[in-house]
């Protein structure tokens, strides 16, 4: 099986043992929490920088140009320059905007994505929070983001922002259903909601291949619905530049705008990571059934590399969508969800339940 | 497509008060102000004429009088005609509006009001189009703006 994959739990348990030797158990928990929090903050920031750079380069290649290549070698320091610029910008106070809600909104959005990221299994044994209802937790927590968006649009005291926030609220709430149902499809296959359990169950092949047709349908629906969830790609009318100037975050400037901007890219990463974990096997290498020799060779590539490869593949797909397709109108978007995706997902789930009962999957 | 002579005959038959100047590039009709609307209405509704496309409507300021000039074309027959009305009152020039016949006239007439000061009866929304409300009427030949216009 996955015998020669490095198991991070040896590292984490040795750190735990070292700390327990130094202080009492209450302090050990506190120190570990602080350490993990700092690690995640660092990861979040670096990931945001990298994703923004990646988006600009991918966008440039699709548009037949080069992208940033002046600041630093290959333009790698471009995002840092943008970050410094955003930090130094003036925070324009808006007259008649509700001050508490206006300042709170970006933090809520960041909070939601932070909490969702805590539950991702990065590598074997490397998962911060491993609930037995992991899938349920991730879906619940990522829904908090819509509160931040609605607050931002409402408290800005601007008609454009309000329209953008209302559109976005309707869109996110609708597409949560499809995301949930497509994830549920794989939960039916694997029998557990615990994320590490779902990854373990893919040790003899990823659910995308083991679940053949219904898993493929669920994956496609997951891709479409999660692109809509994160306000990206053909579903980005909440921030459609050519119509509403910038939608719900029109009135934000400086570091607060940077939060919205960052949260959008991290959400993209999270959604891609969930997709990779549930459909493409998470950190599990590419195994085929019982071919021991092949599986053993695949295990030589570390599990963290597998995880990031799969996640960035889905991130690339999402970026590709955005730069190719025109935007959908709000009523077309809602029609797509309620009249097409939702019925298909429901039928799919019933179908999968039947398949699992009959044992007609790999 | 009817030629100039046939058009002249038909139009004189419809409204006898029209005059036709000689030697012009296109057929021109000069009509007194009272008969203006009914002439244009007949030009549009008559089966053989059927001038249903208002190409342009403008005004020209000769210092003694002002002229409102309409260029009309028929989409079916492709003949062109120019309808002119002379307005002698420079204080308060008024003429009928063609908005009931051609929706495009609404905006041509607003432009004429803006630049010349000619008012139109029965216009749904006679407001200025480009300029502020207290600016004069620039395309009149006796318009002087000391600050913005330099005379040679």
């Amino acid at each position: 099986m996955s015998s020669n994959l490095y198991d991070f739990s040896t590292l984490t348990s040795s750190i735990h043992a070292a700390l327990s030797g130094m202080m009492s158990s209450g302090w050990v928990v506190f120190t570990e929490l602080v350490l993990i929090g700092l690690l995640f903050l660092l990861f979040y920031a670096l990931l945001g920088l990298f994703l923004v750079y990646l988006e600009r380069k991918v966008c440039a290649i699709i548009q037949n140009r080069v992208g940033p290549n002046r600041v630093g070698k290959w333009g790698l320091l471009q995002t840092i320059a943008d970050l410094i610029k955003l930090l130094l910008k003036e925070l324009i106070p808006i007259r008649k905007a509700d001050p508490i809600l206006f300042n709170l909104a970006p933090f809520i959005v960041i909070l939601a994505s932070f909490m969702a990221m805590a539950a991702l299994p990065f590598a074997k044994g490397l998962q911060a929070v491993d609930f037995n209802i992991g899938v349920f937790y991730v879906m619940a927590v990522s829904s908090l983001g819509v509160v931040g968006i609605l607050l931002a649009g409402w408290s800005s005291n601007s008609k454009y922002s309000l329209i953008g926030a209302i559109r976005s609220g309707a869109q996110i709430v609708s597409y949560e259903l499809s995301v949930g149902l497509s994830i549920l499809a794989i939960v039916v296959f694997s029998g557990t909601m615990q994320l590490s359990g779902i990854v373990e169950s893919q040790a003899d092949g990823w659910w995308l291949f083991k679940g053949h047709i219904p898993a493929l349908i669920a994956f496609v629906i997951f891709l479409i619905a999660s692109t809509a969830e994160i306000n990206r790609g053909p579903f980005d009318l909440a921030e459609a530049e050519s119509e509403l100037t910038a939608g719900f975050h029109t009135e934000y400037s400086g570091i607060k705008f940077a939060f919205f901007f960052l949260a959008e890219y991290i959400n993209m990463f999270i959604v891609a990571a969930i997709g990779a974990t549930i459909f493409l096997g998470g950190w599990m290498p590419f195994h085929i059934g019982n071919w021991e020799g092949f599986n053993h060779i695949m295990n030589y590539i570390p599990s963290m590399v597998w995880f990031f490869l799969k996640t960035f593949f889905i991130v690339y797909l999402i970026m590709w969508f955005k730069w190719t397709f025109p935007r959908l109108r709000i009523d077309q978007l809602l029609t797509l969800e309620w009249k097409y995706l939702l019925p298909i997902s429901l039928v799919n789930i019933v179908f999968i339940a039947f398949i699992v009962l009959m044992g007609w999957h790999f | 497509m009817l030629n100039k002579q046939e058009l002249t005959d038909i139009i004189t038959g419809l409204i006898p008060e029209t005059e036709f100047p000689e030697g012009t590039q296109l057929l021109e009709v000069i009509v007194p102000a009272e008969k203006y609307f009914s002439l244009v209405e007949k030009l549009k509704s008559d089966q053989k004429l059927s001038f249903n496309y208002l190409i342009s409507q403008t005004a020209v300021d000769f210092l003694s009088h002002m002229t409102v000039v309409c260029h009309l074309e028929s989409v079916e027959f492709r003949h062109l005609i120019v309808v002119k009305v002379l307005l002698t009152d420079r204080e308060n020039p008024t003429i009928d509006s063609l908005t009931a016949l051609y929706p495009a006239a609404e905006y041509f007439e607003r432009e004429i009001f803006d630049l010349f000061g000619i008012r139109f009866n029965n216009h749904p929304n006679l407001k200025r189009l480009f300029l502020e409300d207290d600016y004069g009427y620039p395309l009149r030949k006796d318009f002087r703006d000391e600050i913005n216009i330099i005379e040679r």
Binding site: I62, Q63, N64, R65, K159, Y160, I163, R167, P234, D236, L237, A240, E241, S242, E243, L244, T245, W323, T324, F325, P326, R327, L328, R329, I330, D331, Q332 | G23, T24, Q25, L26, E28, N52, Y53, L54, I55, S56, T58, V60, D61, V69, H71, V75, R78, L80, V82, Y102, P103, A104, E106, Y107, L115, L129, F130, L131, P138, L139, R152
Partner: protein, 375 residues
């Protein structure tokens, strides 16, 4: 205190929710203010406010000589600058009854069609960008650069050339002109199908464009909507067919008419016009006769007293020039009937009842250039 807050918040039943797509806006291409009254996401009515770029071109023409005012006409619809120039020149040449050389006619027509292709390319890239397909902006501009390079070599400027003078051209075209134009045609014939692959066949785009902004033929004739916008509603208004000028009577081309009347029909008419323009250029480019680049004209042009009227087909519709002359070297009155002036005011009729996103699509399909409206 609380009553005032509540009064601010509650909007009465008969108050309209007005949103302002103001003079600065990413998708009204130019300075146009649209006062849009909304009910939810639906547009109830809209009122355009213009005049932000009113420069008084018609008044300025009364003080300039005919050669000088050519430069003013460039700046009206700057994307079909060449056709604007040609309209005034044709008027002057008709009035003086000057016979212009064949070479001039051929070159003017080729430049007309190149300008039309460049204008439609810019329209396509802006239209895609408004709808959210941001990549189309770069594809359109990449191909437009080839045309602008040809112009720069011959005239020295990319957009506003003022190259056509009464009597002919300002100077002869560059010797490379023929070769580069032929190369461009070969290159663009391969690239134009890419536009269809990116946008036309995309189902999202078709859902955004089909059935949106239906304009009947009667509305088009009543408002005077000409050009590809009018032809999309089956209104045959191509001045190149009705009153040919230049070398248009020597070439075979089709007038593209669309029957749909909606945004998609107007889109398809413009795409087909790009193919037709390339056909026209191909028929002319090899047969440019040798000769003078201008007829013999006096240095000071005075039109005989009278009134003159001329029409041309710009990329957006019918531009008519009406000159009243009293025998001096400046016109007594010069009126430009610009296509965008008529095309704009049909927007209220087309967009009422649709959503905000459709308003953007409709105004993009009407292809408005605001300086043309305000003059």
């Amino acid at each position: 205190m609380s009553e005032e807050i509540i009064k601010d918040v509650i909007v009465g039943e008969n108050e309209d929710y007005i949103i302002n797509m103001g003079p600065q806006h990413p998708s009204t291409h130019g300075v146009l203010r649209l006062e849009v009254c909304l009910k939810g996401e639906t547009v109830k009515y809209l009122i355009p406010h213009i005049g932000y770029i009113h420069r008084g071109i018609e008044k300025m023409c009364e003080a300039d000589t005919y050669q000088q005012l050519i430069h003013l006409t460039d700046r009206m619809d700057y994307l079909s600058a060449h056709m604007n120039n040609e309209a005034v020149c044709l008027c002057v040449e008709d009035a003086l009854q000057v016979e212009i050389p064949e070479r001039v006619k051929y070159i003017r027509t080729i430049l007309d069609e190149l300008n039309r292709i460049a204008s439609h390319q810019l329209w396509w890239c802006a239209f895609g960008m408004d709808l959210g397909a941001l990549t189309s902006f770069f594809y359109g501009l990449r191909d437009r650069e080839h045309i602008l390079d040809i112009f720069e070599e011959s005239f020295g400027s990319r957009l506003l050339h003022s190259f056509v003078m009464p009597g002919g051209l300002m100077h002869d075209v560059h010797p490379n002109f023929q070769k580069r134009t032929k190369e461009f045609i070969k290159y663009f014939r391969k690239k134009l199908p890419e536009y269809d692959q990116l946008l036309t066949g995309n189902i999202i785009f078709q859902n955004r464009a089909k059935g949106i902004g239906y304009m009947s033929r009667e509305t088009a004739i009543g408002y005077g909507v000409t050009g590809p916008s009018g032809r999309g509603s089956n209104f045959a208004c191509d001045v190149r067919k009705i009153a040919p000028y230049g070398a248009y009577d020597k070439v075979q081309f089709n007038e593209i008419l669309g029957t749909g009347g909606d945004t998609f029909a107007r889109y398809q008419v413009r795409m087909a016009e790009m193919w037709e323009s390339m056909n026209i250029i191909e028929q002319l480019i090899d047969n440019i006769p040798e000769g003078d680049y201008t007829a013999k004209m006096k240095p000071i042009i005075k039109l005989p007293a009278g009134e003159y009227f001329r029409r041309v087909e710009t990329a957006r519709g019918e531009l008519a020039v009406y000159v009243v002359s009293d025998g001096n070297k400046s016109p007594y009155r010069m009126k430009f009937r610009t296509p965008n002036f008529s095309n704009l005011f049909v927007l209220n009729t087309l967009a009422s009842g649709h959503k905000i996103a459709d308003l953007i699509a409709i105004s993009g399909s009407l292809d408005l250039v605001i300086p043309d409206i305000d003059r």
